[in-house]
Symmetry: C3
């Protein structure tokens, strides 16, 4: 598909989004207000009737409100979404505004749309037909948006904010369907979303990037690289993702041991990943010099890969093993696979999401399937097995071995949804009305942002006299 889109790239392009971007933002936000008015209410732990709920349900203390079980984890996840993903993508020398700004925009829209979509599938109160939300819904909305931001990483610098909004609209919708199939119909377990979030988001983004292939991207490739300070900014993103990943993987786990175990497994897996990432990065460079791209990205692969099995009895050493191999595979991916995919498969993956989310997500699905299939009552305890895999109601006769099979099926579904949905949405995004940049304007904030004049640091006198004054508040 890459080679047939010459007409798409040659024509003169209009990157002015002065009408389309405000229109999209206003119309969609208005739609959100109306839909929330029609469909969304507080759940019983949020509602002012909580004192009555406590009496009815024999709850002795306010501390039993789900808020206190999940809010700290929610805030950590929130930081990952907005600062983690946002700053991770600021690494390019002239696309930091776009990275952190568009990340902000699509996440803010995505969480609202996700609350609705996930609500319709999962949280309808049958008594009044309303979606009832609480802190767990906020976490799930943030999770859903994570898959959009992963896909954003593949097309970073090559699309307009309007395209990103369109992509987010469709991706959230598809996500909710995929999630419903995997978690409810198939009844797979995916606490940290290796499959549902990471594999889906990555293959979605790669498919979009494939459809939007830009054969002449070399023209702007001077900008497709970092400068010293932008690499340090990106490390802010890396570290907040890395540190809070235990919260990500444990945020919606079962109260008590479930959350506790998921956090510890993730902590260990991530620690192991760092060492193997440094090892491979040094080993495959001339003179053994480390590459910031690897350190910024591959160190996170262990968090992705331990997601599905985070709540399982993976054991501390099991987590370390997962992290060990993911750091290795992910870094090798940056060194060999990304250039290969760009040259041969016509997939331009700006941030290398295939190495950070794609492969580790698939590995996570496989680890989840194997560890579910191998679960035994001696390791989990009778009640523990039921709790962990929710072998209740319709699924009370399911065995661990069968569960393993369903976990594997879930992984295939996530990848298929990603690829299929990505191609579909990519085709929509190729329509010539979204204001995307030309090939030689990619990776440049000038296209969509008022960028301040540069300092002439060579001459401090010139610096203060010679160039246009940028008064931040007086311009229209």
């Amino acid at each position: 598909m890459g080679n047939c889109i010459v007409p798409y790239c040659d024509g003169p392009k209009n990157t002015n989004v002065r009408w389309t971007l405000p229109a999209v933002c206003f119309v969609w936000q208005t739609a959100m207000v109306i839909l929330f008015g029609a469909f969304v209410r507080y759940n019983k732990e949020v509602d002012a009737h909580w004192p009555e709920t406590k009496i009815h349900e024999n709850i002795t203390s306010d501390i039993e409100n789900d808020f206190y079980f999940r809010y700290p984890s929610f805030q950590d996840v929130h930081v990952m979404i907005f600062v983690g993903f946002g700053f991770l993508m600021t690494f390019m020398k002239r696309y930091s505004f776009g990275a952190v700004g568009f990340n902000f925009l699509i996440a803010a829209f995505g969480i609202q749309w996700a609350l609705l979509m996930q609500g319709w599938f999962h949280h309808i109160d049958s008594t009044d037909g309303m979606i009832k939300i609480g802190v767990e819904n906020l976490i799930n909305a943030d999770f859903c948006v994570a898959s959009c931001l992963i896909a954003f990483g593949a097309v970073l610098g090559k699309v307009s904010p309007v395209q990103l909004m369109v992509m987010t609209l469709f991706e959230v919708t598809l996500f909710a369907v995929e999630e419903y199939i995997i978690l409810n119909l198939i009844h797979a377990n995916d606490a940290g979303g290796s499959m549902v979030i990471h594999a889906f988001g990555a293959y979605f983004g790669l498919a979009v990037s494939w459809v939007l292939y830009r054969p002449n991207l070399k023209e702007s490739s001077q900008l497709n690289g970092s400068v010293y300070h932008s690499d340090v900014f990106a490390m802010i993103g890396t570290l907040f993702l890395w540190m809070f990943w235990p919260s990500f993987n444990s945020a919606i786990c079962k109260h008590g041991d479930g959350q506790h175990r998921a956090a510890i497994n993730t902590y260990l897996s991530l620690a192991a990943t760092v060492l193997t990432t440094f090892a491979i990065s040094s080993l495959f460079q001339k003179h053994g010099k480390l590459d910031m791209v690897h350190i910024q990205n591959s160190t996170l692969a262990g968090g992705v890969a331990v997601g599905t099995a985070a709540e399982f009895m993976l054991m501390p050493y099991g987590s370390l093993i997962v992290g060990f191999f993911c750091g290795l595979i992910s870094t090798l991916g940056y060194i060999y696979l990304t250039p290969f995919m760009e040259r041969k498969l016509k997939i331009q993956d700006t941030c290398g999401i295939h190495n950070l989310h794609g492969m580790p997500g698939v590995i996570g699905g496989i680890v989840g399937a194997i560890s579910a299939a191998g679960a035994t009552e001696s390791v989990y305890g009778q009640q523990g097995l039921i709790n962990t895999f929710v072998f209740k109601d319709d699924f009370k006769h399911r065995t661990p071995a069968v569960q393993g099979g369903y976990q594997a099926a879930a992984m295939c579904i996530a990848v298929s949804f990603g690829i299929g949905g990505g191609i579909l949405v990519g085709l929509i995004l190729r329509m010539p009305l979204w204001g995307d940049p030309t090939d030689d304007n990619c990776f440049d904030d000038e296209v969509y942002w008022e960028v301040p004049e540069e300092e002439d640091s060579a001459d401090p006198v010139l610096q203060y006299n010679n160039h246009t004054v940028v008064n931040k508040h007086a311009e229209v």
Copy 2:
């Protein structure tokens, strides 16, 4: 008042704070030690007698200690105060040290003084006349300091650290009085401080800035603007404020549904604000380019405006509506109102706090009054209504409609206190002994900071050989 201060600006100025700043810091810190010694003790949840308290009050578990209800929110608020406000103000090309450094200084002083002032008004233990503090006091002290940092935003770059300390001293004092009147005497509800913190702080700062009007500020206006990296630094502040605002608005709410509801309302309001901010920013610029000033600031307006009503049954769609209009109004404020205020009203508002805190704070007060007046027992439940509005003791016969009136009165009081107090303190700050900078020295870290030599990035050889060595630890 702006036009009568020519003498104030023309004389030679001495910006050397070598004696005044240390004197102020030492004397005031010593005073804090003495006053804390005389007046401040731990409350019963902090004191080592807690095991006995548990028995007396029939508390079954340590988890019932207020620490576990509020500490995670406290830490989020703490990040907003020091990193959020601090980095939001680093946007100027040569005032990042002053932004983050003076923010640090005045917040560190302010929280101590606030613990005392708020303690005297709210937390005197009648048995021994002592102020008893716990985690809730720390949050309230941080809140109080937030109003000082808002005012700092109006005068950023135009005052000396000594002036800032003086301003903080008086503002905290006034804040405690205003807060006592609004929360205790009038018995208004203001969980997130739209009125008490934001409206008060903003109008205080604007009044100070009006009194300190600098007619020749154009001379330093080359520095009153951003460079590329400083705008990215400012986004760190923006995002930490944005992400943790749900904690801000819920931190001192009632246990259980109160905190839960406030967090969700704020989350939703902020999400809506982002979309309308992007829309207006793009719509009012030539070529539809986005302006970082709007993204950094107006995206936060929804958090301010939902503050008063955060704990009320505002409903998810209600929160979205509040956020929707605040993003719109705040961004338009940056585009039209700030230049107008500078030209016509002689109010120089460096960070545009009127758009981020002033107007949204007033809107928040109005939203609070309306939603309180409209509260019904069917929506809140009988007990829920009493809990939410604290219709107890002296106020047990108050109705929601009456409460709405008092809420509106509270808003007027906050604004009046802000304007009146700001003029008063502004006059004190005009005394020619505080070491403030001349007009052409504004927005420049050189005045109060040892600034490292610039890199000559044009020539890497020169860069390493030609300029003065800055050895960080060997200079005196």
Copy 3:
């Protein structure tokens, strides 16, 4: 020792770590996997048998799981370790990659090794001989690593990543022994680790730096300084350390009043430190200008010094007094002591850890000893005294006065272990096989990192055309 190492510095050096760094990372990470497999399991609050544990131990709610008492504090500590320490050290103009990257590497290795070492000493389950881990172990592992990162601060920019890994291996080992002696054998109390972490880590690092003295370091001293933006990056580290220090000191305190009190004492101490740091910094500079080095570092000294006594009934004013003097002493240390130590004692302390961790750590030990010795039943209550000092089992007859003596002894042990261990490890690090940089290559990321080409900001046309394209993902 400094003067006898000419041969060590003169020979041609090979800084290529292409084989040694990967070898160390792979072998040690593999060892971790094996040792974790042999020795580490989940504790009963993490294990899937938790539902049974709840029944056996009559625990009524999942919220009683230690996870909910400690996880928020753990995450704050985690941020301090990776972002706090990492970014605090990015202040140098050309060593930000090394600062934040090597910090990441050694912390990720250190936490794994610490879980094992501390586990063997403290957490062996006698029924099966396994180390049983939970969230408290993660906090302790992070604590242990903090001492390694403190030592890293002394040698920052002057060692290779392989040396850092070796140093971490030995320092964690020594730490576990020292900690066992102080906490278990001597039964001293050190909630925030003033002695165990800070004094030990600082004197260890200083001793290593002494052994590795570089007489010709002046040659690279052009790089031993900051630029404007790097100082702002360092403030990110400072602030996250400052804000989360209350969590650090309270993270492993007793449930309830213990954690609550430790957080409040630390909050107050740190606030006081800021004011005295600003005072001294201004007072001792010509023209009263503030020095970023002091603001970045000395403002944190109060958190170190209140560590040991954080859980004690230090009283709010007591905490302020500790902070007051530490800001003063620490800043004076940067002004007078660090240059003196470099010239006379041949100790090159890149980050001035002696002022931030060494002296305040010792002060913390002394404060702890005095406040323990002065503890009375009237202040603590009978049960409170037993709880706070754990006067139980073998120590049930110990009195506060005796405890004070043991606290003082603990402080001496920590310092002795630091100095002795540091000299030993320093000698190991002097072996000429670790790839350390030559004197004129110190403080330069070029040695171990692929550093992106500089922007030519003088000429924007040149900037985009003239220099080598850095394509982040296509290089091998």
